[in-house]
Structures are given as C-alpha cells and as structure tokens.
C-alpha cells in the first residue's frame, strides 16, 4: 500500500530567522544578496503604496503580496530574461524583477485598458485571474521552447488553493509526460482567501503531490530568499538540461488581506499573523544578514526608501495627471480580433457616438 507516511519530509532552509547562514555552501555572492534585498524592499514599498492608494480610491481591488517577496524574488533571480513567467494576480514582486515596468503595474491597478499590455521584450503572460489556468500555459510555452530546441524554461506561479483545481493536475501530468522545461512554483501562503491549507487538502505538503507525476517535488522555506533561489536554480538547471519539470512548494504567508475587499479577521487571529509579520518576515532576516556583513545599515535603508518612494510618487503623479486621456470605450473594439468584423465596426461607431454625445455620466 502507498501511504504518505513512507515519504521523507524535508523543508530546505539556508538563512535562519536571525539572518544566520545554516550551511557554508552559499550559491550566491553577497552582492547578489544585496541586490535581492533591494528588490524585496522595493517590492514591499510598492505593495504598501498600492494598498494605500486603494484605500484612497485611486486604484481598484488590489491583491497585496507583502510577506511573499522572498518566494517571488528568490525564484525569479534564478531565471534568465528569455525564460517565461506565467503569473497569477499576486506576483508583482517577481514580475518586476523579471522586467515588468512599474508603470505597467500601476496602469493595471488603475483599470487602464492597456494594463495587461506586457512590453514586447518581457516574457510574462498577462496576470491570470482564473485559478490554475496559467499552469497549462506554462506547459504550452515550454513545449514550444523544447520544440524549437531552445533552452528557455517556463515557470508558472500559483497558490496553495490552485493545487485543488483540475488544471493544476492536468498541467503537471502533461508536463511530466512530455518532459517539458516547466517549473511549477507554488506559493503556499497558507490561505486561499479564507480557506486554510489544512481544509484545502488532506496531504501533509504540496510538494509531495509531485510524486503522482513521477516528478521531483521540493518544499522550501518560502521566506528564505537564499533557500528559494537555490532550490529554483536546481530546478531550472534540470529543466534546461532536458530533465523535465519540477514542482516547488515555497511555504510562506500572506501578511495582508486576500484583496482589498477581504477582511482577514473573519478567518484568522492576530496571534496567527503576528510571528509572520515579525521574526518570520522575509525581509528581516536578509537585512540582518546584510547588516551583520556590514553591507547595509539604517542610513542606507532610509536613503534607499526615500529614493524609491520619490521615483514611485513621481511616476504615479505622471499617470494620474493623464487620467482624462486614458483610452476610451471605442478602443476596446480593436482588440477582439486582428480585424474587426462588420458587427464590431458598427458597434464601435455606436459606442463612440454614445460616449461623445452623452453627458449622462459626467
């Protein structure tokens, strides 16, 4: 009989909560650690800014990622620009590192028609709303790479809740059958909206699900940027070498609400959140490590924060000053097909006329 008890459970860790390295073997240089930290810090600041803007009614519903920066950024650091990312809606930290312009993230949050227009040279798919649908797109993009003999990999990012979806299962199965260079990166932030992972599944881990597909599965401390990087690097290498897909489970925590429409006090207690907000915070331990290595200090932090916040504010001002010029309804008709059919032509004209003549919603 197959039982999960027969498996050996392990969670990869490299940097403990006090910022102390657990192994000598460090696969990244201190410069890289510094760079990672700076991205994490930017990401945190962006998230906090967007959350504030939402509260002020300046952007729409927003899904904050604070707490998950190490998982996202550690893993994206192991990628090349030519690799593909198939993200969910809570992935701005990783996307930013992979080349997504800040402007684009803000336009998306503002419900700008072009919000999903990823720049041509950035291999990131539009953020996925439908849970787990992107896991299959990673299989397809990876297949195309393999088909053309390219060495790029495709990574799909998703949450613990996504593992319950049929698409997740079908994606892992296809990926392992075709041995495509795809990586399935799960951020187990312990909740799917209000549902805790213990009610999402009866298995002890998400990583063990890889066994169902004859695929390697790894569990890693998702708040440990070095461990995440290392585990991801290995998976990327396997994929590039034609050794097929990997499932990675990064155990982390969402510090904020699911989205700005969510009230997490309905389903989790202050005591539950507190340790994650403090000792387990993914930025904290890297900062401690860098401070101990004399690579960072309060002054540097302060200056860095100031610079980035100024940059961000400036960018947002720019965008908000042009809000009146945001695309109008009639432009929407341009993106249904490569060429508009007769019905769309007619409807577009009507939409434009109504908008131009209408004063009803000024």
């Amino acid at each position: 009989m197959f039982r999960e008890e027969d498996l050996t459970f392990e969670r990869v860790e490299r940097l403990n909560e006090d910022g102390v390295l657990l192994h000598d073997k460090k696969v990244v240089s201190d410069e890289q650690v510094l760079e990672m930290y700076q991205w994490m810090l930017k990401a945190r600041l962006l998230d906090e800014k967007l959350l504030r803007m939402q509260r002020q009614g300046r952007i729409g519903t927003y899904a904050p990622y604070s707490g998950q920066e190490a998982a996202q950024i550690g893993s994206v650091f192991a990628l090349e620009k030519s690799d593909w990312i198939c993200p969910s809606y809570r992935e701005h930290a990783g996307n930013m590192v992979h080349g997504m312009p800040l402007e684009q993230i803000i336009l998306y949050a503002k419900g700008h028609l072009h919000g999903g227009r990823v720049p041509e040279d950035v291999n990131i798919l539009p953020v996925q709303i439908i849970i787990a649908a992107q896991t299959l797109h990673a299989v397809g993009t990876a297949y195309a790479q393999k088909y053309r003999g390219e060495k790029h990999v495709s990574v799909s990012y998703f949450g613990d809740g996504a593992t319950s979806q049929g698409d997740f299962h079908e994606a892992l199965n296809f990926a392992s059958v075709y041995q495509v260079p795809a990586i399935f990166f799960c951020q187990n932030n312990q909740y799917a909206i209000s549902v805790p992972v213990e009610k999402q599944m009866a298995s002890k881990s998400i990583a063990q699900k890889a066994v169902a597909y004859g695929m390697p599965g790894v569990q890693v401390d998702g708040n440990d940027v070095l461990a995440v990087y290392e585990v991801m690097k290995e998976a990327v290498e396997r994929a590039r070498n034609g050794e097929g897909p990997t499932l990675i489970e990064a155990v982390t925590y969402r510090l904020g609400p699911h989205t700005t429409s969510d009230d997490p006090t309905k389903y989790r207690s202050k005591e539950n959140v507190e340790p994650w907000r403090e000792v387990k915070d993914p930025l904290r331990r890297v900062r401690l490590y860098l401070e101990n290595s004399n690579l960072w200090d309060v002054e540097k932090e302060k200056a860095f924060v100031q610079t980035f916040q100024d940059e961000l504010d400036h960018m947002i001002d720019e965008i908000e000053s042009k809000e009146k010029e945001f695309p109008k309804v009639e432009e929407a008709f341009e993106y249904v097909y490569q060429e508009k059919n007769a019905q769309l032509e007619e409807q577009q004209a009507e939409a434009r006329r109504i908008r131009e003549e209408g004063d009803w919603h000024e």
């Binding site: 028609l113 049929g166 999402q200």
Partner: protein
Amino acid sequence: MSEITMIEAIRQAMTQEMERDSRVLILGEDVGRNGGVFRATDGLIDQFGEERVMDTPLAESAIIGTAVGMSLNGLRPIAEIQFLGFIYEAMDQVANQAARVRFRSTGRYHVPMVIRSPYGGGVRTPELHSDSLEALFSHTPGLKVVMPSNPYDAKGLLIAAIRDEDPVLFFEPMKLYRSTKQEVPDQLYEIPIGKAKVVREGNQATIVSWGPCVPMLEKLVDQYKKEGAHLELIDLRTVAPIDAETILESVEKTERLMIVHEAVKTNGIGAEVAALVSEKGVFSLSAPILRITGFDTPYPVGTIEDDWLPNEKRIKDAIQQLLSY
C-alpha cells in the same frame, strides 16, 4: 415584513429553508467561516455547522459534481460559484451532468440543486468577474435560469429554486446586492419560476429586461411617463424558460420591442426574445426590434465599463428610435 437588501433576502431564504428542511445544505469557496465574499452566507456556519455550510477546496467542477452526487442521493445542495465567470470550470458538470440526469435515466434520477452565483458589471471588479453568462445555460435543456432584480423577488424565487426538483441556476446581480432595501415578508413564500412580471404598464413600447438593468429602467420609464410616453416594462425574472406569453401579449399591444441586457449582444437572451417575437408576433410589430446590450467584446476594464454597459443614454436613444415609428 422588514426592509432588507437583496443580499439579506438571499441569506434569509437560505436560512429559513435550511431550518425547514435538513436536506438543504450549502457548499462553495469561502461560504463557511468567511460567510461568502459578499457575505451571502454570513453566520450560517455558526447556525448549521460545517457539515451543512461547507467551505470547499478551490475547484468549481468538484463543487458542482459533488452537489450532483449529493442530489442523486437525497440531499438538496445549494452550490455557490464565487463569480459567474468561474463557472466555465464546471461546465461539464452543469451542462452534461446536472442538466441531463433526469433525461438520461428517464426519470429514475433527478437533481434538485441550486447553483447561486453573483454576476454583472458596474462595480469595478477585477477582470473576468463581471460577465453575464445566462445565455449559455438557456441553450441547455434541463436547466432553469433565474435572475432576480430586487430583494422581494430574490427571496421568493430562491425559495422556489431550492424547492424545485430540477437544477436551477440562480444568478445574482452584484450591483444590486446592497443598492436598495425593500419590504420583504419575514415568512417563507415562493415566486413561481418561469413567470415574468409586468413591472410598469404602458402601450407605446415594450421593454424586456431582467436583473441588474431593471431598477435603471424603472426609473427611466417613470420619467418617460411624466413626459407622457407610456412604456411597458417586463422583468423576465426567469430567462430559461422564457415567459413568451407575457412578452407576446405586451408586444401585441405596444407594437414595439426593445430588450436590454448586460451580456454581450450576439446570441444573448435578447436574441431568443427577438426570435420568439419574430416567430409568433411579427405582424404586431411596427418597428424593428432593438437590443441594447453589452457590446460584442470581452467585458472591459473598470475605466470604460460604464460606457460599455447599457446605459441611460443608449436606452433613451433607442426608445426615441422606437417611438419614431
């Protein structure tokens, strides 16, 4: 009687039916501890326990497929799909399974279940959260599709849906969840599925609509009345089956027909209403049949959705056009 919102009416209907009938239970994502993302099931887990108010894993096909199995074995589940745009994941279980069991077993089995789901636009949701997909299900024999437009109807129709012996899709316009309050009887009552309601009488043109557009249309029709134009407004309440009789009677009188819905135009329910009239009431018509609907693009982003949805300006222009014949 108490003044309540639509979301409260819905919660009340479920609560009272669950108190009355232990076979009724609820399952869906976040419906338990969280009380639903719109709070439709708030407090129900405390009253009925987690066996009857089930927080499910994140899988729509499993939610509907499990509910089908429950119905086949004597329960009466109310399954929630968090937003209607996610029902595609469960289409096989809805259209090939739930809808067909009675037929495939020639009556040995049937599926008394309700699928509740919020839908519709105008509330600045993220992408893929605002689609109106009722027409997909009206093309599937074996299903009924109910779409209330006010608290009173919502309660009565939901109770009827829960008591129905066949699968009923119950779609709730999220724009109207809390937009108004209405006097709603405290006791249980049913509003029959399949009957439209003439909410404004008139003889110059007929407007057929349902769900989210109805309150706006009521306001407009009242306005026109003050200006001396008498429009008849029909709230379909159930879009599958369509109450053809009520529509045909009205068009015979008014000779003019306009259909208003949020769903995209092509092959929306509006097409079926127009087709029914062109089949059985074509000689009554003095004007073309107009459809004022969402445009034939995917539901757009928040900055332009108000210009995409049927809006007052579009409807007024259309009424003008109808009355000009």
